[in-house]
């Protein structure tokens, strides 16, 4: 028996309930008026979308860290993954947790904010301040919902290029990102090779595989099967498809891990009990963990955004834009590449990275490629993996030397 005054336990419970109610409110507020810098592009600067329509007006929310040098040569663009956002190295305004890439970005970190000027924009279609389906449609004054045009990885990158134009940054020292972020990195190097000095696509691929599209479809169907989704009009109907989105997240989360990691973390252990309850409670620790992942995710993410961003990843096929020949995407590229994959990543397996490397070699590009041994699966790129950190640090230091960026004087 735990001997704790009941009043305190009660207070904790109440505050948890209040937080759960308030979190969606915070989230909705972030979509139009985020806790970030925002650039608003008026009707004179529309975003030309692959879908064949213009998005205008639209806005991009972004975070910056460090200082842009006088020559404007030390900018590092960080592209976030499907469920990430621009809060790469600061406390998150909705969840109150640390940045999603705290291990990689910060003072003295491999992407050193004392040396580089780091920019991380929220992607178009997301829900943390850049225009997306949860944003207010200026034509109606209501949330866009499914009236928001379908966007692609190339659209995200095009919008980011407009952001860099706005910031007066001709070319970036590096573009880095994992997973969907890695897709954006690859698109950057193909669309704007002259604007990218070095590139770090991590745990990425040049196209989404059939298996990955299949997983995404399951997630989308889970959302759309939730009666509170209301064909995407849940804001107007004052509903919230939390259950569907949570299930989508639970399914996806499994694909970010590995069998070995799940076994190591949870095995077949029971959650707060010694025997099975012969019910459908979360008897197993792994069930409880997944439910927690699902519940905490819906506090900070918009269900329609999840549909749009998974769609953008599904549509990504870089070679298709170059007559099916991937090498043509990087013909004559002088960008320095560092491609990184993880042994236990079955979502973006090493073979995908190897295909990138082969195509880059065929085009004579300067490429490094490392595969890191880990059992942590696709999510390894977000974690404190010493080898990953050492490789990124070394690669960037070599590139900084070539770019003439001075080293940081440390006391």
């Amino acid at each position: 028996m735990v001997n704790r005054p009941p009043s305190k336990a009660m207070a904790v419970k109440v505050s948890e309930m209040v937080e759960a109610v308030l979190a969606p409110v915070d989230r909705v507020r972030e979509t139009d008026e985020p806790h970030s810098e925002v650039v608003r592009f008026g009707s004179d600067k529309p975003l030309r979308l692959d879908a064949g329509v213009d998005l205008s007006p639209f806005q991009i929310a972004y975070q910056t860290y460090g200082t842009l040098n006088a020559a404007r040569t030390n900018a590092v663009l960080i592209c976030h993954a499907l469920t990430g956002d621009q809060h790469v190295a600061n406390v998150h305004p909705v969840t109150g947790k640390g940045g999603w890439w705290d291990t990689m970005v910060g003072p003295g970190r491999p992407i050193d904010t004392e040396r580089y000027f780091v920019i991380c924009p929220n992607v178009i279609g997301a829900c943390m301040g850049s225009s997306g389906p949860a944003s207010t449609n200026p034509a109606t004054g209501q949330p866009w919902g499914l009236d928001f045009p379908v966007i692609t990885i190339r659209d995200m990158v095009r919008a980011q290029a407009m952001l860099l134009d706005h910031l007066g940054i001709e070319s970036v020292f590096s573009v880095a990102g994992g997973s969907m972020g890695g897709m954006q990195v690859l698109q950057w190097t193909a669309s704007y090779p002259e604007r990218v000095f070095s590139a770090l696509p991590i745990a990425a691929a040049t196209r989404h595989s059939a298996q990955n599209i299949a997983f995404h479809e399951v997630g989308r169907q889970a959302i759309m099967a939730d009666p509170e989704w209301c064909k995407g009009r849940y804001f107007a109907e004052r509903k919230d498809p939390r259950k569907g989105l949570a299930v989508a997240r639970m399914g996806a989360h499994i694909t970010y891990l590995s069998d070995a990691a799940l076994h190591r973390k949870f095995g077949r252990r029971f959650q707060d009990r010694d025997n099975p309850t012969f019910s459908f409670d979360a008897d197993f620790q792994v069930e409880s963990y997944l439910r927690h992942q699902g519940i905490s995710f819906v506090e900070r993410f918009d269900a329609n955004s999840y549909l749009y961003l998974t769609r953008a990843m599904d549509y990504f096929d870089l070679a298709a834009d170059y007559e099916g020949v991937l090498a043509n995407a990087w013909k004559g590229s002088s960008t320095r590449f560092c491609v990184i994959s993880f042994t236990s990543d079955w979502l973006f397996p090493t073979a995908e990275s190897r295909a990138i490397v082969h195509a880059l070699n065929a085009g004579g590009a300067r490429v490094s490629f490392a595969e890191i041994v880990t059992d942590k699966g696709h999510d390894a790129f977000l974690l404190d993996e010493p080898e990953l950190l050492a490789i990124v640090r070394g690669f960037l230091e070599g590139a900084a030397k070539a770019r003439g960026l001075p080293a940081v004087q440390r006391r």
């Binding site: 082969h358 490094s368 595969e371 490789i391 070394g394 690669f395």
Partner: protein
């Protein structure tokens, strides 16, 4: 003549900058590479040669390495190294992609030395190959008197765990150059103390006293490639 060039090019100041000093065979290889060239080092290990070449020859260097540890160490040093296998991955490289393709102490570990050499001559305008000479007198004596596979400081492995599966002598390598269509532009043998054999000596002498050999090669008939 070789040594005087070495002395001229690798000044003490340059050598002092190399941490821990460099192996002589690597300096001999570096001496064959033109300044600012584009270089591919096959089996680059932890990138020691690439670093030397970048330092004293200002090359645009790339490396392929089989071992994951070697690759990750090289990349962390800021070198352009990829994980790959000389026996399978060279066919992905286009013709004339590099000025020099280097195979340093790796030829004997490849499954198909002839195929590897032919690819090197196709990918690069020059190929540089260094290898341990199995015809060295000490190796010959070990087989003659001990009747066992030889082990030396350069070749420390037992036969059953050795990565070296295709040993050859300097004479054998000359034969391979003939069949693979390679022209020998320059050759250096290093004696047991790691210094170049300077005398103008016949091949049999090299084959007996050279512990290691370094060859600079080019295609015999460059019009043949691409057909």
């Amino acid at each position: 003549m070789m040594l005087s060039r070495l002395k001229r090019d690798l000044t003490m100041a340059e050598a002092a900058r190399m941490p821990g000093g460099s192996r002589v065979d690597l300096l001999v290889v570096a001496d064959m590479v033109a300044r600012g060239a584009k270089v591919l080092d096959i089996g680059c290990g932890d990138g020691e040669l690439l670093r030397l070449l970048a330092e004293i020859r200002e090359v645009d260097g790339r490396g392929i390495e089989l071992s994951r540890e070697g690759v990750n160490e090289g990349v962390a040093k800021g070198l352009a190294v990829i994980q790959g296998d000389a026996d399978t991955d060279l066919s992905d490289y286009p013709n004339d992609a590099f000025d020099y393709v280097i195979l340093s102490q790796t030829l004997q570990a490849t499954r198909q030395p002839r195929v590897v050499l032919e690819h090197m001559l196709r990918i690069g305008r020059h190929a540089i190959v260094s290898f341990p000479n199995f015809g060295h007198w000490r190796i010959r004596l070990q087989i003659l008197f001990r009747g066992q596979m030889p082990r030396t400081d350069n070749l420390p492995y037992a036969w059953w765990d050795s990565p070296n599966i295709h040993f050859c002598t300097i004479k054998d390598f000359r034969d391979l150059c003939m069949v693979a269509g390679a022209k020998m532009e320059q050759s250096v043998a290093l004696n047991a103390w790691g210094s170049p054999i300077r005398l103008k000596v016949p091949w049999w002498f090299w084959n007996l006293f050279g512990e290691q050999a370094v060859f600079l090669l080019s295609r015999k008939n460059s019009e043949q490639t691409g057909k």
